[in-house]
């Protein structure tokens, strides 16, 4: 992401907009500046802000005069008055930031927007998590903190050592050099992203061990971790497996996503595909 300094009027509207707090006004040049190391290329400033195309010279003059008289501005808080943000073309490894941070960019590996896969959202069609199994979505960096791949690797290595199965269609799994060890590509380890999701599956017996590992590793990595934990309901639509286990472990939840079982395979397969 770039701020065009010929256009920027240092109004500072973009500063609170950035989810990573990566924008600040450099008082030496009186322009907004992006801290490239903190920026995750999520595009919120560029895409999320409304824009005007006002004359920068005129706006700077007005701001100087009003500032001198200590007038209080009441500009719209989400508007860049001079359309100063520009998206530049990114190359690897920096491109990985955008892929994992900008929700309107599609993951090439999964074909869906977002940081994970279809998870249990399509479990009625794909049956990724069957009866007696537990699916985990272990997410790093969200909400609002961000994470580096080196921290994610710390978790994946520990989980791999526990013998978990990584979801093969997950973007993080695609970045592993070895799914048995959990190591990620070395060229991306220092890249920071808004969030990423590691997806694994175990039997119900391993829930406690996996969650203990996740929370223990989280003590060592400087970010937030959010865990989603899923299972298939029984024939009556009840979960008499995972919910009681979580209760036994003293783990509580307020919200859930429920697959209502309305999906089915409808694609027809042609003779050549067969």
């Amino acid at each position: 992401m770039i701020i065009n300094h010929k256009k920027c009027v240092a109004c500072a509207n973009c500063i609170p907009v950035c989810p990573m707090g990566a924008i600040y006004v450099d008082t030496n040049i009186n322009r907004a500046v992006i801290n490239d190391d903190a920026c995750v290329e999520c595009g919120t400033c560029y895409r999320g802000m409304s824009t005007e195309n006002l004359n920068p010279v005129l706006i700077r003059s007005i701001r100087r005069i009003a500032g001198f008289f200590r007038f209080r501005f009441e500009p719209e808080p989400d508007v860049c008055p001079t359309s100063a943000f520009e998206m530049n073309e990114l190359q690897m490894p920096r491109l990985i930031r955008q892929i994992f941070s900008d929700p309107v960019v599609e993951h090439q590996t999964t074909g869906i927007k977002g940081r994970g896969t279809e998870e249990v959202k399509t479990n009625d069609v794909n049956l990724r998590v069957d009866t007696g199994e537990v699916g985990y979505t272990i997410e790093f960096g969200r909400p609002g903190v961000g994470v580096r791949f080196s921290d994610i690797q710390e978790m994946t290595v520990k989980l791999a050592a526990k013998g978990v199965i990584f979801e093969k269609n997950n973007p993080i799994t695609h970045l592993m050099t070895n799914t048995d060890t959990g190591f990620l590509r070395s060229d991306i380890l220092n890249e920071k992203i808004l969030s990423a999701i590691v997806e694994i599956k175990t039997t119900i017996e391993k829930v406690e061990k996996v969650l203990n590992t996740v929370y223990k590793v989280n003590q060592r990595i400087d970010t937030v971790v959010a865990v989603g934990i899923s299972t298939r309901c029984d024939g009556e639509g009840e979960d008499n497996l995972l919910a009681p286990r979580l209760e036994d472990l003293g783990i509580f939840y307020e919200r859930a996503k429920t697959n209502l079982g309305l999906g089915r395979i409808t694609n027809t397969i042609s003779k050549t595909e067969k």
């Binding site: 069609v125 697959n259 999906g263």
Partner: protein
């Protein structure tokens, strides 16, 4: 964790927050699914949604190339038609409801339409059970959102978290949520204006403006 599971709050804080979404599965039921996804959204639009999204945009979007006078005439009216028309490829489409009966009636109609595409509901566990029961269907699978682990104290207070996490993708920053809350407290913006600003930043349309307004008003009352 899925976007809508990031919403922060106790279970009863989701009594005005029901998200119903449809998602085709790649290679399984994504062929010719566009008309079905559009029809799904059309059904949702008939049951008083507070927001809708097609993966690319929500009902309130950033306004580009505003004129100098537009500050006084900004639109805060949801545009459902554009969401429906904007479905051009397979992906998640969603609608947010602020009322249990609207969500349940919508779900009933979706079940009758029988699209063959996976449909999920995201709200509190009990609300989802009730909705499924009300429609006479059995839940297939469930994903619970466990509390966010934050051993290094990165997260802000619960008011900011509740407002910010309604954009599950994290595009509503903590600082923007804090700024809008402060602007409402200071009387510099109405709750409706603040909510419209926050909603514009959520590109997939799952931000719940009704819940956000309630949270803003509650936060202002607590301050007083």
């Amino acid at each position: 964790m899925t976007n809508t599971l990031h919403r922060y709050g106790k279970a009863d804080s989701f009594n005005d927050d029901y998200i119903i979404f449809a998602i085709p599965s790649k290679g399984k039921n994504d062929k010719d699914c566009i008309p079905k996804l559009k029809e799904f959204l059309k059904i949702c639009a008939r049951h008083n949604p507070v927001n809708m999204g097609n993966g690319q945009r929500g009902t309130l979007t950033p306004e580009k190339d505003l004129g100098p006078s537009s500050h006084w005439n900004r639109s805060d009216q949801p545009d459902f038609e554009s969401i429906i028309d904007g479905v051009t490829k397979p992906g998640t489409v969603s609608a947010v409801f602020g009322d249990a009966s609207d969500a349940t009636e919508c779900l009933q109609e979706i079940i009758e339409a029988d699209f063959g595409i996976s449909v999920n509901i995201s709200t509190s566990v009990e609300n989802a059970k009730e909705a499924a029961r009300g429609c006479g269907i059995r839940r297939h699978s469930v994903e619970y959102a466990l509390a966010v682990s934050d051993p290094h104290d990165h997260l802000p207070n619960s008011q900011i978290l509740s407002l910010s996490t309604m954009c599950g993708h994290g595009m509503v920053s903590f600082n923007l949520a804090r700024k809008m809350l402060d602007m409402v407290r200071e009387g510099r913006r109405t709750p409706e204006q603040a909510v419209a600003t926050l909603t514009r930043f959520c590109p997939c349309g799952v931000y719940n403006p009704e819940r956000a307004k309630r949270l803003l008003l509650e936060a202002c009352r607590e301050q007083k």
